[in-house]
Structure formats: C-alpha cells, structure tokens
Symmetry: none
Subunit: 252 residues, 2 copies
DNA sequence: TTTCTTTGTGCACATTCTTGCATGATATGC
DNA sequence: GCATATCATGCAAGAATGTGCACAAAGAAA
C-alpha cells in the first residue's frame, strides 16, 4: 500500500467522520502505529488535519461543519461496536455478512492484513471490502432491495446454499432473549435463515435500541447466538438473559 | 512492446485506478523495473502523473478519493460518452451492464425517471444504480475480482444464463473491426460472452484509445455490435469499418 | 554488406526512502 | 500519584530509486 494511499484514506475518513484513531488506522492499513503517526505528522504539517491525543481531527475550518453533519452519535457508537466485533475474527475464517449499517461499519473496520473469505449480499459491505487485498470476496447476487441495501430472492438463497461459513455477522432488526432474532421483511428473513443454517456461529452487534425488541419474522433462536457485541450502556439484565443461553458478551 | 504503448497503458491505468505500482507494471509489461521507472520519470516530467515511492498516482488536480469515482482527465470524456450512450435506452427495457469505468459513467448517467431492469456484475455499476427508484436492479453474484471490479466465475455465468436482456452494455478492453471485441482476462471474457449470448443487442461506448486495439480473449464479433458510441474525434475510417458491419454510430 | 549512430533495455552499485522496534518522554484516567 | 496509553526520537534493515555502463536492435551512411 502506497504512502499516498494511506494519506488519501485518512483525508477521506476525516472528511466523512471528522476524526481518525491512530490504532484503528494502523490495523486497517496493516502497518505499525508508528507509521500511522508519521503519516498524521506529515498531514498535520501540511495543515490537512489537527493532531490530538489518540489520533487526529479535521483541521479547524472544516471541523465544525463536518463533525456536526456526519459524526452523529449513532455513527460513533456503531464504529465502537464494529471495532469490538472484529475482535472475534481469526485469520483464515470464512464469513457471511449480511446488510445493515452496523454490518457496514464492521466491514469498514476489518483490518487490511487479515486473510478472510467473505460472502455478502450487501452492496455496502461489498464496497467496503472491495479494496482489502487479503479478503476473498464473494458477492451473493439476486434481486436488489433498495430499502435493505441487500440482495434477496431465490438466486441469493441458492448462492448461500453452496457455501459454508465459520461465522455469520447477522444484522438484526429485533433482538429479544425469548423471541430470538427477528426481521421486518419476509424475503430478508429467509436469506438470514439460510446464512444462519450454513454457519458454525452467529455474531450480532446490536445498539441498545435493538435490544429487547422484536419484528414479525423469526430468523434464529436466541441460543444460536455465539457472540453478542453491545454498547457499554446496555442493560445488564438483558445481557444476562442472552448469556444464560450461551452467548459470549463483548462490551464495546 | 513499444515505449509509447507502455506510456499509454500507464495513462489509462492511472485514469481508471488513480495509481500504479512500479513492480506490478514491470511484470505486466515483461520489462525490468528500471524501464518502468524511466517511463514514470518521463510521464512525470510531462506532468501526466505524480511519482510516489512505490509507483505513481494521478497528478495533483485529481488527487482523488475513492477508487471507483474518479477517472482523472478522461472523466470528462467518459461522461460525454455516457450521456450519449443513455440515449439508446427506452423505458421498460432490460439491460446487462458489465464492468469498467465507462460503464460506471453510463450507469451514473441514467436518468432518475426511466423504468428499467438492470442486471450487472459490477459493484461500481450496482452502487451507481442502487438509489434509482425506478430501476429494478439484479446483482449478478460470484467471485469478486479486485482488478476488474466485477464478479466472475461459475455462479456469475449461471445467473446470467437465467436472464435475457434487450441490450448489453459491453465494457470493451479492445475493439477492432476485424478482430471484434476482446478482453484481457479469460474469466472476464467468459462472462461477457454469456451476456452477449443472452442479449438482443450490444452497445459499446469506447474512448479513442480503445479503437483499433485488441486483447487476447475474443468476446464478440464486430458485426454483433448494434450501437457504437464514440468520441467526436474518433477516426472516420475506423468508424466506417464498424458501420459497414451493421453498427449504428453515435457521436458523443 | 559493413560500419556507425541512435535508441532502448538490463544490470550493478551507491543512495535515498520507508518502516518497525527500542527507548525515554509525555499525556490521560482513576 | 500511579498505572496505562500515546507519542517523539534514534537506529537498523529492507525496499525503492538514481546513475553509470554495457549490450542489443534498428536505422543511416559508407
């Protein structure tokens, strides 16, 4: 990876999120934090960002507008969840990743230097993974549903049926200890079920607003969840319910 | 391989990807890295690129952001081609669109108010179409090839086989009146052939640098081209050859 | 044809750039 | 104040680069 590319990525990220973290960039790029710090130093010298402890933020003129516009609380929280979620990955694994903004954040958080095989029906996830050199990306085709950002339908199901994965990153709509994982859409639920069936373990990263809610279509039982990634502020009682059913809880 | 050919390839690659790697070019051209560096030095002196450690990137004014979006100075020309190309569309049609920066430009040029069904194996095209409300988008899944930006392989072929289209927007690598349409990659060519087989007509939008060139793998004969969209400056003699074989010429 | 010149190419060597690690300094959170 | 995380600096190894030189191919001149 060219130095210039890292700089460009940092500029883009700053424009989009308003800030970057040194450690996160390092794992994303697959270089040491020293190198990232050198990059940040250079960019700071060129006035393209302002260094802060732990990373950097967009330089003054842009800071106000960009951060307030895009760096909403939810984005922030999802990135934190994403960083914790990628912690369960091991090199060489095969993954299913379905749609949703949280899963897209996870895809963006996957470091550059880990070798994975990923099958996804989400355009957003695929785009995020498209330039990771060590990720073998399999696009699960089908009818694209605009509201979901994913492909569903018979073709998608057929493609999923041909694959097997170690982990399935399930973008849940509702998550309840008794009712399990649920989705709003029938076709969407069907694809998720197929992915769950063909995976050894399910990983769910859920913001607080998903906890203890349910949608019409059942995707999986609560005891099928192997890893549950939640915010620091998630209600302990709810987490205990999931833990009792075998989920490993990861606090972001 | 002529020096000038290498220079042209480097310019093209830079326009398409925004960067080139010295080592990669050397193995691609079958010459030593020294020679590539000499090429890069010359092009840099002519202001056509900016050298960086490890290769070169598109020169300053377009020091762009994401891989897919930018096409350097050729972007203007491609947009013009794209606007002309969408002129052949009629409401209600079904299309195949494969990969390439020109096809991505075409996808972005499709107006919001036209109803279409589009099947594509290109992530870039799919992303461009994802938010067009009247476009029914079918993603053709498969193994994603980073260099091409498209999905290829058996799954892709199977998905194509189930569909039929009115028009196929073929992203050509080489285009020659006698040798027909050709591609650089075997798997890529296979998918293109399948799409051509299942379409009533082929549409090609080609910048001048594609005309009268050929790549190893044959995709379709020249007389299979129904619409050929070219720049205003395209050599008339070449166009006449295609016209004789039944192509309708559209000048952007 | 032979010879000379020009051009393009590859190789060897010295130089420069980049990167990761070690060390000590500084900032942050409790 | 202390433990921890983050940072700057110096250094060494490896990668990329520039330069000089030799060699081969193509064309011009004899």
């Amino acid at each position: 990876m060219l130095t210039e590319e890292r700089h460009q990525f940092i500029r883009d990220r700053l424009a989009a999120e308003g800030k970057v973290l040194a450690g996160e960039l390092a794992s994303r790029f697959g270089v040491s934090e020293d190198t990232v710090r050198r990059d940040l130093r250079e960019l700071a010298k060129a006035g393209q960002l302002r260094r802060v402890y732990g990373g950097a933020v967009a330089s003054a003129p842009f800071a106000a507008s960009t951060i307030s516009q895009r760096g909403s609380h939810a984005v922030e929280e999802k990135m934190r969840l994403a960083r914790a979620a990628v912690g369960v990955l091991a090199a060489g694994q095969t993954l299913f990743i379905d749609g949703g903004t949280t899963n897209e954040a996870i895809a963006r958080a996957i470091p550059r230097d880990i070798e994975l095989t990923v099958a996804t029906n989400s355009l957003g996830v695929a785009s995020a993974l498209a330039d990771l050199p060590l990720v073998e990306l399999i696009m699960l085709g089908g009818r694209y549903i605009r509201d979901l950002g994913t492909c569903v339908g018979g073709d998608t199901l057929a493609a999923v049926a041909q694959l097997g994965a170690d982990l399935f990153f399930l973008g849940s709509c509702g998550l309840d200890a008794s009712r399990g994982v649920t989705a709003f859409d029938s076709a969407e639920a069907e694809v998720k079920r197929a992915m769950a069936r063909n995976s050894a373990g399910i990983v769910i990263a859920a913001t607080n607003d998903k906890l203890a809610t349910a949608a019409p279509y059942r995707v999986a039982a609560a005891d099928a969840i192997r890893h549950l990634v939640v915010e620091r502020t998630a209600p302990a009682a709810i987490l205990a319910d999931f833990e009792r059913q075998g989920a490993e809880i990861h606090v972001a």
